[in-house]
Symmetry: C2
Subunit: 112 residues, 2 copies
Amino acid sequence: MLTTGGCPKTALSIKDALEALEGRWKLLILFALSTGPKRFKQISKEVTGITDKTLSKELKNLEANKLLKRNVYDTFPPTVEYSITEHGKSLEKVMEELHFWGLAHRKEIIGN
Amino acid sequence: MLTTGGCPKTALSIKDALEALEGRWKLLILFALSTGPKRFKQISKEVTGITDKTLSKELKNLEANKLLKRNVYDTFPPTVEYSITEHGKSLEKVMEELHFWGLAHRKEIIGN
């Protein structure tokens, strides 16, 4: 597998990544933001199946991990938008590989 | 981001992948098997922090998703070994990208 297959140090960085991205929602939220900043309701609509409670929790976690930024605009009433950070954008390759693998997995398991 | 940024079809395949790999353990178990077939106790030792109950559940799930194979040998007493399948090996690039991103994330968040 990996040229460093089984190496404990590699396992540690994979574990770091998996902990930061844990669950099925975080990457999908960042993927929704990859086309531009969005408001809560827009994200909720694009990430099919997520509840408002979970989305709210995940947005806070992603902000704490510097993967997105919460921008408050001084309008009346105030508007809030979420945008992906440079660090969030650095997940592009991970998402690409998950996309390709997801296609292969669907073919392998579901057979179409 | 992805050239197809925000495309609903791409989101679907990423979702498929995330569902199959959900949680922090599956990829670490497959990573442990990337150096060769192993017995339950060996995997449990290599995947730091996993409980026997969780490992047992995850192994069944990975087998159902054709990512690993459970081999029973006719010894006395019988021995059981788990090995990664070709489909499991196809996760190599995902793991590689997670490894690189995990290193960058540690630097960004923890600063070392």
